[in-house]
């Protein structure tokens, strides 16, 4: 191999909405971790591509790993776009020569091919094609990266064209297929196929199937447990506490050689267990645009969703309430509503204000003057304290902060 010179060239841009890059004045570390996953996914897929092309080889060629390194070039404030460059060899106008190929054929760059392959994986999954090729580790990392994206957020892969002089190929991908990719990744471990019913626990709960208890609360994970009498009863208990979002997933699954669940096969049916889904509802409301109320109605700001969700979950977890219903308000707020025991109605309306948020509370069982201003809070401890006292005492004199 000739001595290579290295240079940076555009590899991908990630465009994220919902203020995750800009509104908080930086990039959360959790986002960086997921961005880093794309490098690992491309690396593993590139090795897979290499071994597909060279079935006789047991090792990749020298310098293979050094060919690919991603660096963040820029975060454009306001655009919510993050540009990522590839640090890679300069091939020259004729492309890179493959010393092993006849007639000096141009060697394919496995990393560019790997990026395209990952895009095809996502597209195949999005189209519910179900055909996913690639090593399990790569797909799992890819799924982790995709979990960064939601709704209309996009990632563009900018891949060096194999045709000298041709424009780079740009392929776009969005988030909608992430879950299927994750499932497909789990399925790619050559599992045994057998009919099996299973339940999935998603959104806020990680379920420890060995110890049969909730291990950790987290958003966006899915853990499968078999449908046994024990797990059904346990899930029923979890659901009845009203604090967790559970989804029952029934379908035919595969198990791998170790007997662990490895993924679903064929059609799945989803049904929710217990109370409204807070996370799903917020995702639904994030699609609102200004003018949603027949031409009036301001859309809630992206940052409000995160803050309001934190407030709602804190109330749910600290006060032991069920998940609330959520509605938009015409002035760009989000209103959480609970139907409490004893025919009592509670509303917490959260609005974005300059330095944070403000929550107005309507507790309809309190004997208040109809003209009295609603108590308003800008600090979580004060809100929790007021709610605790209001819920515990039917008629109490409690004031806002």
């Amino acid at each position: 191999m000739a001595e290579d010179k290295f240079a940076k060239r555009p590899f991908m841009t990630v465009t994220l909405d919902k203020g995750r890059f800009t509104e908080e004045g930086g990039i959360p570390l959790a986002v960086l971790g997921k961005l880093a996953a794309i490098e690992g996914a491309v690396r593993e897929m590139a090795r897979h591509v290499f071994f597909e092309d060279h079935p006789d080889k047991k090792h990749v060629r020298d310098g293979f790993d050094e060919q690919f390194r991603l660096v963040i070039r820029s975060l454009t404030t306001g655009s919510q776009s993050l540009a990522i460059d590839r640090w890679s060899p300069i091939y020259g106008e004729e492309g890179k020569r493959d010393d092993d190929a006849p007639d000096g054929a141009v060697e394919q760059d496995e990393y560019d091919l790997a990026a395209l392959r990952l895009v095809e994986v996502g597209e195949a999954a999005r189209q519910e094609d179900g055909t996913v090729a690639g090593p399990r580790g790569s797909l799992a990392k890819f799924g982790r990266f995709l979990s960064l994206l939601e709704g209309d957020e996009v990632v563009d892969f900018i891949v060096q064209s194999q045709e000298p002089g041709a424009a780079p190929a740009v392929r776009c991908l969005d988030r909608r297929a992430a879950r299927r990719v994750e499932l497909a990744a789990a399925m790619s471990a050559d599992p045994k196929e057998e009919p099996y019913n299973a339940v999935g626990v998603v959104e806020r709960v990680l379920f420890d199937k060995r110890q049969a208890r909730i291990r950790k609360r987290e958003t966006g994970r899915c853990v499968l447990v078999p449908t046994t009498a024990d797990s059904e009863a346990l899930l029923g208990d979890i659901a009845s506490d009203g604090r967790t979002d559970l989804v029952r997933v029934v379908g035919t699954v595969r198990r791998n050689a170790d007997g662990d669940l490895a993924g679903f096969v064929g059609d799945l049916t989803f049904s929710r267990i217990g109370g409204p889904s807070l996370a799903a509802r917020l995702v639904e409301l994030e699609k609102l645009q200004d003018g949603w109320l027949d031409g009036a109605g301001k859309a809630p700001r992206p940052v409000l969703f995160r803050r309001a969700a934190d407030i709602a979950w804190t109330i749910v977890e600290r006060l032991g309430l069920s998940r609330p219903y959520v509605y938009p308000t015409p002035d760009g707020g989000l209103q959480f509503e609970w139907d409490l025991d004893g025919d009592r109605g509670l509303e917490v309306t959260v609005r974005h204000i300059r330095n944070g948020w403000e929550a107005a509370v309507l507790a309809d069982w309190l004997d208040e003057d109809d003209d009295a201003e609603l108590p308003r809070f800008t600090k979580m401890p004060n809100l929790l304290d007021w709610l605790t006292r209001a819920i515990a005492v039917d008629e109490d004199d409690v004031d806002g902060d």
Partner: protein
């Protein structure tokens, strides 16, 4: 929107039957069949008069259909008896819309008069009204 109701007060009963009025409910105000109190909240443009439709003139489904026919979105209607409004010292008046004045005809249009209430009191009333309502949702064929 009218600043004064353009018709007589709607009575609580029609013969032996209680009179029902329907409030159109925007789809975003419905989650899993449950309607928010926002459905009964006034906007600044309402001038303290809450739009409803007279159940003596239209059925629940027709009330929803008319709302949609005016280019506005509705998942269904929330129904309350006029007597329920009276329980909160709110009177309901006929307010038929005409092409000349409103750009469309709607002889079922009516107004619940909340002008005597402060914004806070009107907000609290919305909570009470929605809890007393019967909600009917209708598929939107369009």
């Amino acid at each position: 929107m009218a600043t004064e109701p353009r018709g007589p007060e709607i009575p609580a009963t029609n013969g032996d039957h209680p009179v029902v009025v329907y409030r159109a409910v925007h789809p975003d105000f419905v989650q899993e069949g449950r309607v928010t109190s926002q459905a009964y909240r006034l906007s600044g443009a309402d001038g303290g008069l809450l739009s409803v439709r007279d159940g003596r003139v239209v059925s629940a489904e027709e009330a929803c259909h008319r709302h949609r026919a005016q280019g506005r979105r509705a998942a269904g209607v929330a129904a309350l008896q006029v007597q329920d409004y009276h329980g909160h010292n709110v009177r309901v008046f006929e307010d038929p819309c005409t092409v000349a004045e409103d750009g469309f005809d709607d002889d079922s249009h009516a107004l619940a008069d909340l002008r005597a209430l402060s914004p806070t009191a009107a907000g609290r009333l919305g909570k009470k009204l929605v809890r007393a309502s019967t909600v009917r949702l209708f598929e939107d064929a369009a």
